[in-house]
Symmetry: C2
Subunit: 206 residues, 2 copies
DNA sequence: ACCCTAATGTCAGTTACTGTCATATGGCAT
DNA sequence: ATGCCATATGACAGTAACTGACATTAGGGT
C-alpha cells in the first residue's frame, strides 16, 4: 500500500480517460460544424460549449485558445497522410511515395474529401486560423522529416531532411489550396502531383 | 473648380500624411520597446497608446490586432534583405547572392544585429507572434519569388520560383533562429550560409 | 477667414480568456 | 458495498482585446 508514493500516471485506458478524449473530440466536431455553418467570428465559445453541454470554462480546459481548434479539426488529415506515407513500400522513390500517400489518405474510409474542402475554405477566410495552420505545418516538418529519414536510414534531425520535408509540405499545401479554390476538380490529387513534380529537379543549381 | 468630382486620392506627400506615417512608426517602436522590456502579455494596448500619447482607439486605426504589430516590427528586416538582394550583381549565382544579401542587410547602417536578436527571442517566446510571423514569411515567398525571377528572366508567378523562394525563406529563417538561440555567435551569417548550402544539391532526386 | 474631409477622442458594449473556489465524479483500497 | 482521494467540472468575478457610434478637432484647399 504505497498510496503515499507518487501515482505515476493515471493509465490512459481508464473509463475517465476515454470520456475525456471523447469530450475533446465532441468539442472539436461541434466547433467545426458551427464554423462551417456560421463562420469563425459568428461562433462564440459559449455556442460551442452549449452544443456539447459543458460549461464554457471547461472548453478552456481542453483547448488553450479558440484558434487552437484549427489544429484539432485538421489533425486527422495530417495523421492520415503520415500514416499513409508510412505504409508505402520502402523501395518506392520518395516523390512517388508522397504522391501516392496523398491519394491513399483521400481514399474512402480515411478522410472525407468534401470535408477537407470546407476546412480549406475556412482556413482561407479566417486570418487567425490561417496563421495558426501555417505554423502547424511549419512545426510538422519535423514529423515528416522523421518518416522520410525512416525510409532512407537518414538522420531524422538533419538539416537536409528538414528542408526536404519543408519543401514537400509546401508543395502539398499549395496543391491542396489550389484544389480547394477550384470548384471543378474532384480531388486534390492532380494539383498536388503537379506541385510535387517541380521538386524532382534540383531547386538551386548553384 | 471641380470640387464635386471625386478628390481622387489625397497626395501621400502632404503634411498630414507624413504625420500619420510617423504615428504608425512611433506606435510600432514603442510597442517593440515595451515587448522587449516586459514581454507581450504584460504589455497592454493602453500602455502602447499611452507611450505615444494617443487614445487606445486610435491604435486600432493603425493596426487591426495586437498580433499584427509583429509584422510592423519585423518588416524593416525583410525590406533590408530584399533590397540587399536586389542590389547584388545579376551575374552572381543565386545561392551566393542570397548569402551575401543576408550579410549586407546586417552591415552597419541597415539593421541592428542586437535588435534582431531581441526580435527573434520575442517571436520564440510568444506563440501568437510566432504563428503570425511564420504566416508572414509564407506570404512573403511571392515577393522573394519576384526578385528571383528578376535575376533569371523567369516567371514571377511560376510554381517553380515560388518553391525556390519557399526553400530559401525556410533556410534563412532556420539559420537566423539557430543563431538567436546561440549566445556565442556574433552574427547569423554562419548558420544561414550552412543552411543555404544544403539547397545546392537536388532536394528530391526522384 | 471659411468649409469640408478625414483623423482623433470618448464611451458603451461584446467576447476571449484566467484565477479561484466549491462541487461532483470516477478510481481504488479496504 | 463503502469510504477516501485525485481530478474533472461548474459557477463567478475580473481583465483586456476588440468594435460600432458619435462628437470633436485639425488639415488643406478655396
Amino acid at each position: 500500500m504505497d498510496t503515499l508514493v507518487k501515482t505515476a500516471e493515471p493509465p490512459s485506458t481508464g473509463l475517465a480517460a476515454r470520456k475525456k478524449q471523447r469530450t475533446r473530440q465532441r468539442l472539436a466536431e461541434a466547433a467545426a460544424e458551427l464554423f462551417y455553418e456560421r463562420g469563425y467570428d459568428a461562433t462564440t465559445i459559449d455556442d460551442i460549449a452549449a452544443a456539447v453541454d459543458v460549461s464554457p470554462r471547461t472548453f478552456y480546459r481542453y483547448f488553450p485558445t479558440k484558434e487552437d481548434l484549427v489544429v484539432a479539426i485538421g489533425e486527422t488529415s495530417i495523421e492520415s497522410f503520415l500514416a499513409a506515407l508510412g505504409a508505402r513500400p520502402p523501395e518506392e522513390p520518395l516523390l512517388a511515395a508522397v504522391g501516392a500517400a496523398v491519394d491513399d489518405a483521400l481514399a474512402p474510409g480515411w478522410v472525407d474529401t468534401s470535408r477537407v474542402r470546407s476546412f480549406m475554405a475556412l482556413i482561407r477566410d479566417t486570418p487567425a486560423f490561417r496563421a495558426r495552420w501555417v505554423e502547424e505545418a511549419y512545426d510538422n516538418r519535423h514529423r515528416l522529416a522523421a518518416v522520410i529519414a525512416g525510409r532512407t536510414d537518414g538522420d531524422p534531425n538533419g538539416l537536409r531532411n528538414l528542408l526536404i520535408a519543408g519543401a514537400i509540405s509546401m508543395a502539398i499545401n499549395t496543391g491542396v489550396q489550389c484544389w480547394a479554390d477550384d470548384d471543378a476538380e474532384p480531388g486534390p490529387g492532380d494539383f498536388v502531383h503537379r506541385a510535387l513534380a517541380e521538386l524532382a529537379l534540383p531547386l538551386l543549381p548553384a
